[in-house]
């Protein structure tokens, strides 16, 4: 049918939403994503942008270009500044050798860390000649005088501002729009002073900070927005493994329909990409010596030549590691004039690589076990593993950790979302989560006092982040004649332990009512006792293998999740009115809703769902303690 002219239907939506971005600001690398959560490359095509600022003559370099200055211009190359934000000079340990510009006491500001770099100051440009210059004395411009060497002092805050400004500039160039707000990720251990310092540096860079978001929070936002997350229960326990350059950060998180809280966290400095690099450059240095008969000792290197070779190798293996992550084949490492003018090209395959860095994987595994034990849980209680950080891109790590988890555990590697910058890509997960969050915050209204209060609930330390959670799983038990196991019937968990209240869960399912015309329906509401049973069994004897007779037969551990009854809270009965008969048996569709309020009062409501919708309801209340 033809639509008459002049209808005002479906007007073209003019997006009133502000342009916002998410920034992952690591100590080694940063990345930036836009509102629809795609990662943005800077003008050099980089998505992982090194947190480095270098000065060479009149030029200033930012990102990976700056990082390359570490070989020949390390004194004027600044790295590692994020972790110094909000710190006093006296608080910074001075015993660590640095491969970049040293941190100094600011010449004027008391106890302020700073950097001193050598630059060339452009000489003032001569005054432009005007067209009306009379008489035309000379057409040749006054020669521009030589730039003069100078010293520049930059505070940590200033360096951060320069760096963040360049990230925003890249985003603005890409989007063709001004960026009006940003969510920036911060480590969980960032203190109030560090947060304040970052906020100030961002403000100085002209950035409107919508929130400083904890890294675990950013990762969760991405992981629950994933399409592939639909296959896994909305109530789950996540292990977040963040393996960056200098440290390992672990958190165990209870995610309940998108609402999350941390159960335990752990930080382990010294486990990460830098440790992997140490192993790898030693491997290549050895290969180089084997090939060229030229001695080369790295990590640590003692003389100037070896130190420079080490710096070159460190830069080169960034590419090697990325290749190893991306494909199982061999990855190369090429360095021009590595030592004594000799070029070097070597290669390593994934198997060899995993062997070389196995001790790093093993450290991660040990720490994971420690974390889970500290939370009073078992590795089998983990439903999903989420990876953050460049070094977590290595498939060998996931394979190494897999030995401890239940077979059903979901990881981005098993679901295939790491490769090609998919949803599970550990190098983009933080900036994407921050971008999602920025979009969410940008849409909040601020008209009423209550709306402003909602917005403030995202700020650091807001009281609304305080919540109470359940400690035992609450569910339904449908008793069964002669049922196997300790429960004596069909168990349906509904409100899992570690669920923040108030909480509501609604489940629907078919119930068998038997052959009798009574059509009676009932169930018990229990708190459950949950655990993991570990059994040691001897593996079945292999008849064909008589060889290793003398070897002690190793027992293998078999684990199984178990549920038992803890306490009966109530029971509920109703008579089915909407049942239908099939093959002589009655059945009906039941919907049950559990609501736990903020004091711990539990309301359970059940109703049949018939052709006309929800039927009469039966309710039981368990009062709060």
């Amino acid at each position: 049918m033809a639509v008459p002219n002049g209808t005002a239907e479906a007007p073209i939506e003019v997006s009133a939403l502000p342009t916002v971005v998410g920034i992952n600001f690591g100590n080694s690398y940063a990345s930036i994503a836009e509102g629809s959560a795609d990662c943005i490359a800077n003008e050099d095509g980089e998505r992982q942008i090194a947190c480095a600022v270098a000065f060479l003559g009149e030029e200033m370099y930012i990102g990976n270009q700056a990082k390359h200055q570490l070989v020949k211009n390390s004194q004027n190359t600044i790295t590692g500044f994020r972790n110094l934000l909000g710190k006093k000079f006296s608080e910074i340990p001075k015993d660590k050798p640095t491969a970049s510009a040293p941190v100094i006491q600011h010449p004027e500001q008391a106890d302020e860390p700073a950097y001193k770099v050598q630059i060339l100051q452009a000489a003032p440009t001569p005054l432009p000649t005007t067209a009306s210059n009379t008489p035309a004395a000379s057409q040749t411009a006054t020669p521009r005088s030589e730039p003069t060497p100078a010293e520049r002092i930059l505070t940590v805050s200033e360096v951060t501002s320069i760096f963040l400004r360049s990230l925003i500039q890249s985003a603005e160039d890409f989007l063709g729009k001004k960026v009006q707000g940003a969510v920036i990720s911060v480590p969980a251990w960032f203190s109030e002073a560090q947060r304040a310092a970052l906020e100030k540096a961002a403000a100085d860079a002209g950035i409107n900070v919508l929130q400083l978001l904890e890294e675990a929070g950013a990762a969760i936002v991405t992981s629950i927005s994933n399409a592939s997350a639909q296959d896994i229960s909305a109530d789950r326990t996540q292990l977040i493994v963040d393996l960056g350059a200098s440290a390992l950060e672990l958190s165990l998180v209870s995610v309940r329909q998108g609402l999350a809280h941390s159960l335990a966290t752990l930080s382990e400095p010294g486990v990460g990409g830098d440790a992997i690099d140490d192993k790898l450059i030693k491997f290549f240095a050895k290969e180089f010596t084997k090939k060229t008969k030229t001695p080369l000792a790295v990590a640590p290197a003692s003389d100037v030549q070896d130190r420079r070779a080490e710096a070159k190798l460190r830069l080169a293996i960034e590419h090697t590691k990325r290749t190893i992550s991306a494909s199982p084949g061999a990855a190369t490492c090429s360095v021009e004039s590595l030592k004594d003018g000799l070029d070097y090209t070597g290669s390593i395959n994934r198997m060899r690589f995993d062997m070389e860095v196995r001790s790093v994987y093993e450290s991660v595994y040990t720490k994971v076990k420690e974390l889970v034990a500290a939370a009073g849980l078992d590795l089998y209680d983990i439903d999903e593993v989420v990876y953050i950080g460049g070094s977590a891109s290595l498939p060998g790590l996931d394979e190494h950790l897999a030995q401890g988890f239940a077979e059903s555990v979901v990881t981005p590697f098993t679901s295939g979302t790491v490769v090609g910058g998919g949803e599970g890509d550990p190098t983009t997960i933080l900036s994407r989560g921050c971008a999602f969050q920025a979009k969410l915050l940008a849409q909040l209204a601020e008209e009423t006092e209550e709306e402003r209060e909602v917005k403030r609930a995202f700020a650091y330390g807001s009281k609304w982040q305080q919540a109470k959670t359940t400690t035992k799983t609450i569910g339904m038990l449908f008793p069964e004649e002669g049922a196997e196991g300790p429960l004596g019937g069909q168990w349906i968990p509904v409100v899992l332990r570690e669920t923040a209240v108030s909480a509501r869960r609604t489940v629907a399912f078919e119930v068998d009512l038997g052959e009798s015309e009574e059509k009676k329906l009932g169930f018990e509401i229990w708190e459950a006792k949950e655990g993991v049973r570990i059994e040691k069994i001897k593996p079945p004897k292999d008849e064909d293998e008589e060889a290793d007779e003398e070897e002690e037969e190793e027992e293998i551990e078999v684990k199984e999740k178990v549920v038992g009854k803890e306490a009966l809270l109530a029971s509920l009965t109703l008579v089915a009115k909407e049942a239908s008969k099939k093959n002589g048996r009655w059945s009906t569709k039941l919907e049950v809703q559990f609501v736990v309020d903020s004091d711990g009062k539990l309301d359970v409501t059940a109703w049949e769902v018939g052709k006309a919708g929800r039927g009469e309801q039966a309710t039981v209340t368990v009062s709060s303690a």
């Binding site: 978001l213 609402l259 969410l440 305080q466 035992k472 069964e480 509501r504």
Partner: protein, 61 residues
């Protein structure tokens, strides 16, 4: 609207002998204090309900 999770289970019919027993506990186990991660739409919904003091039904509307 509350999201209803469809479960792929069919609980068995009640044993003829079953009668609802007396509860062994008066209330659910004591709650513990935790800190929520201020992230995502679920946190926003949680705070909205709390700040505006709404029940789940009121918040659904």
């Amino acid at each position: 609207m509350a999201s209803v999770v469809q479960l792929p289970v069919v609980p068995p019919c009640l044993p003829a002998s079953w009668s609802s027993a007396e509860p062994t506990a008066k209330s659910v186990s004591p709650l513990v204090e935790r800190r929520l991660l201020p992230a995502g739409a679920a946190y926003l919904a949680h705070v909205k309900r709390a700040v505006h003091n709404l029940t789940f039904e009121e918040h659904d509307k």
